[in-house]
């Protein structure tokens, strides 16, 4: 099994979840209120009340094939709006 970590602006959350669902992920977890810095911008907690919002950290445990299915869509989304995506190995307990 794989573990996919996605970090991006929470304003794009709905779009990303739609992409995940279209690829039939077995599930996903969302942690909002993440902040951070990337090559593009700094996201701070004190800006959450404004329209900018904070980041969302999305974790998906799924098979490689599912990742292959959604790779292009996610890359497209993240390269336009910003954010990062990394894959690592994971074994069910």
């Amino acid at each position: 099994m794989k573990r996919l970590d996605l970090i991006f602006s929470e304003r794009e959350l709905d779009a990303i979840i739609k992409t995940l669902e279209k690829a039939n992920v077995p599930g996903y977890t969302v942690m909002k209120h993440a902040t951070g810095r990337g090559p593009e911008r700094v996201v701070t907690e004190d800006m959450e009340f404004t329209g900018l919002g904070a980041n969302a950290h999305v974790i998906v445990f799924c098979e490689q094939e599912i990742i292959d299915k959604m790779r292009d869509n996610i890359r497209d989304e993240l390269s336009y709006y910003g954010g990062v995506a990394y894959i690592s190995e994971a074994t069910p307990l």
Binding site: H33, D46, F49, T50, G51, L52, A54, D76, Y80, Y81
Partner: protein
């Protein structure tokens, strides 16, 4: 320009709490108002402003002054972004220019209520229907900004990101803060017309609590503004100059429009403040979604880090003396 009104403005609790917040950052205190508490106060203020404004509009009815003033307000929020865009294009690309210009065409509700508090402390009358102007100036500036992107930069965008009119209208009218303000205004209006006993029951929440909640929120805004300020350095002196010059310029146009509308000094100040203030709620939300090519630090650092504090601390009394100078002149 007298120094007295500036000092008087600074010595009011809301401005003092704003300064306290800003100073805490300067001195590296760990004072912090964690999320989502600022959101609570921001939602509360929008709801209360809208509700009270709706009641006032229902009470005063649509007098002679209402329609011309509201139309002029909309006009200003259409024109200002265009002027701002032309200025900003000297230095920035279409995306950044449009986003920043939209922010300055739109308004800041907290600057508006600070101006109301200032007028109250100076015992200068103003009308409740000005909240209508506040509510109506948020969306047009967003629409202009997005149309500028649509028509001035169609080739720089991937095809998949084409901007549709429906999306533009959605972002400008259904944006959370625009929607809450407008719909609370309608609730206030309906309550005043069909359920007057509801007004008294809401009063402790939307009325009495307001000033204190404003202070608390300004404490946070002081922290936020002071944290944003150093980031302005990266933005360069052109943008720093713009963040001070543009409000003054807009105020200058605004005061003559106000004179043309024959507004009294109170309403005139509010009108000028609406022109001079810049948005950090509705516009950033819309731009982040639809124009990610623009750097959010540009439109946020300028509006929150410089224009907002400038208006709150110095701008309002400056605009007041501008109003006092221009308005009493013989009518056009």
């Amino acid at each position: 320009m007298e120094i007295n009104p500036i000092l008087q403005n600074v010595l009011a609790p809301p401005v003092l709490f704003f300064l306290i917040g800003a100073i805490s950052v300067l001195f590296k205190s760990d004072l912090e108002i964690p999320a989502p508490l600022p959101k609570l106060f921001s939602l509360y203020l929008l709801l209360a402003i809208g509700f009270k404004g709706g009641i006032e509009i229902q009470k005063s009815g649509f007098t002679d002054q209402v329609l011309p003033t509201l139309s002029a307000a909309i006009l200003m929020s259409l024109v200002i972004p265009l002027i701002g865009f032309l200025i900003l294009r000297f230095k920035f690309d279409v995306f950044n220019s449009a986003a920043i210009a939209a922010a300055y065409g739109s308004i800041s509700a907290v600057t508006f209520i600070s101006a109301e508090s200032f007028l109250e402390s100076q015992k200068i009358a103003f009308d409740g229907f000005m909240v209508g102007a506040l509510a109506l100036m948020e969306s047009p500036a967003i629409i202009v900004g997005l149309l500028l992107v649509k028509f001035a930069a169609p080739k720089n965008r991937p095809k998949s990101r084409k901007m549709y009119l429906s999306a533009i209208l959605h972002e400008s009218l259904l944006n959370g803060s625009v929607y809450l303000l407008l719909s609370s205004l309608i609730v206030g209006f309906l309550t005043a017309s069909s359920n007057p006993s509801g007004i008294a029951k809401m009063e402790p929440f939307t009325g009495q609590l307001f000033y204190g909640a404003e202070c608390f929120f300004l404490l946070d805004m002081g922290i936020v503004a002071a944290q944003r300020l150093p980031r302005l350095k990266n933005a360069g002196s052109f943008l720093i100059g713009f963040a001070i010059f543009m409000p003054l310029f807009n105020a200058f146009i605004g005061v003559f429009v106000a004179r043309f509308l024959s507004l009294g000094p109170g309403n005139a100040l509010l009108f000028v403040v609406l022109c001079a203030s810049a948005s950090y709620l509705a516009v950033p939300a819309a731009m982040r979604m639809t124009v990610p090519e623009a750097k959010s630090s540009y439109y946020i650092s300028t509006t929150l880090g410089l224009t907002f504090p400038f208006n709150i601390v110095l701008g309002i009394p400056i605009y007041m003396s501008l109003v006092n100078t221009v308005i009493p002149l013989s009518p056009l």
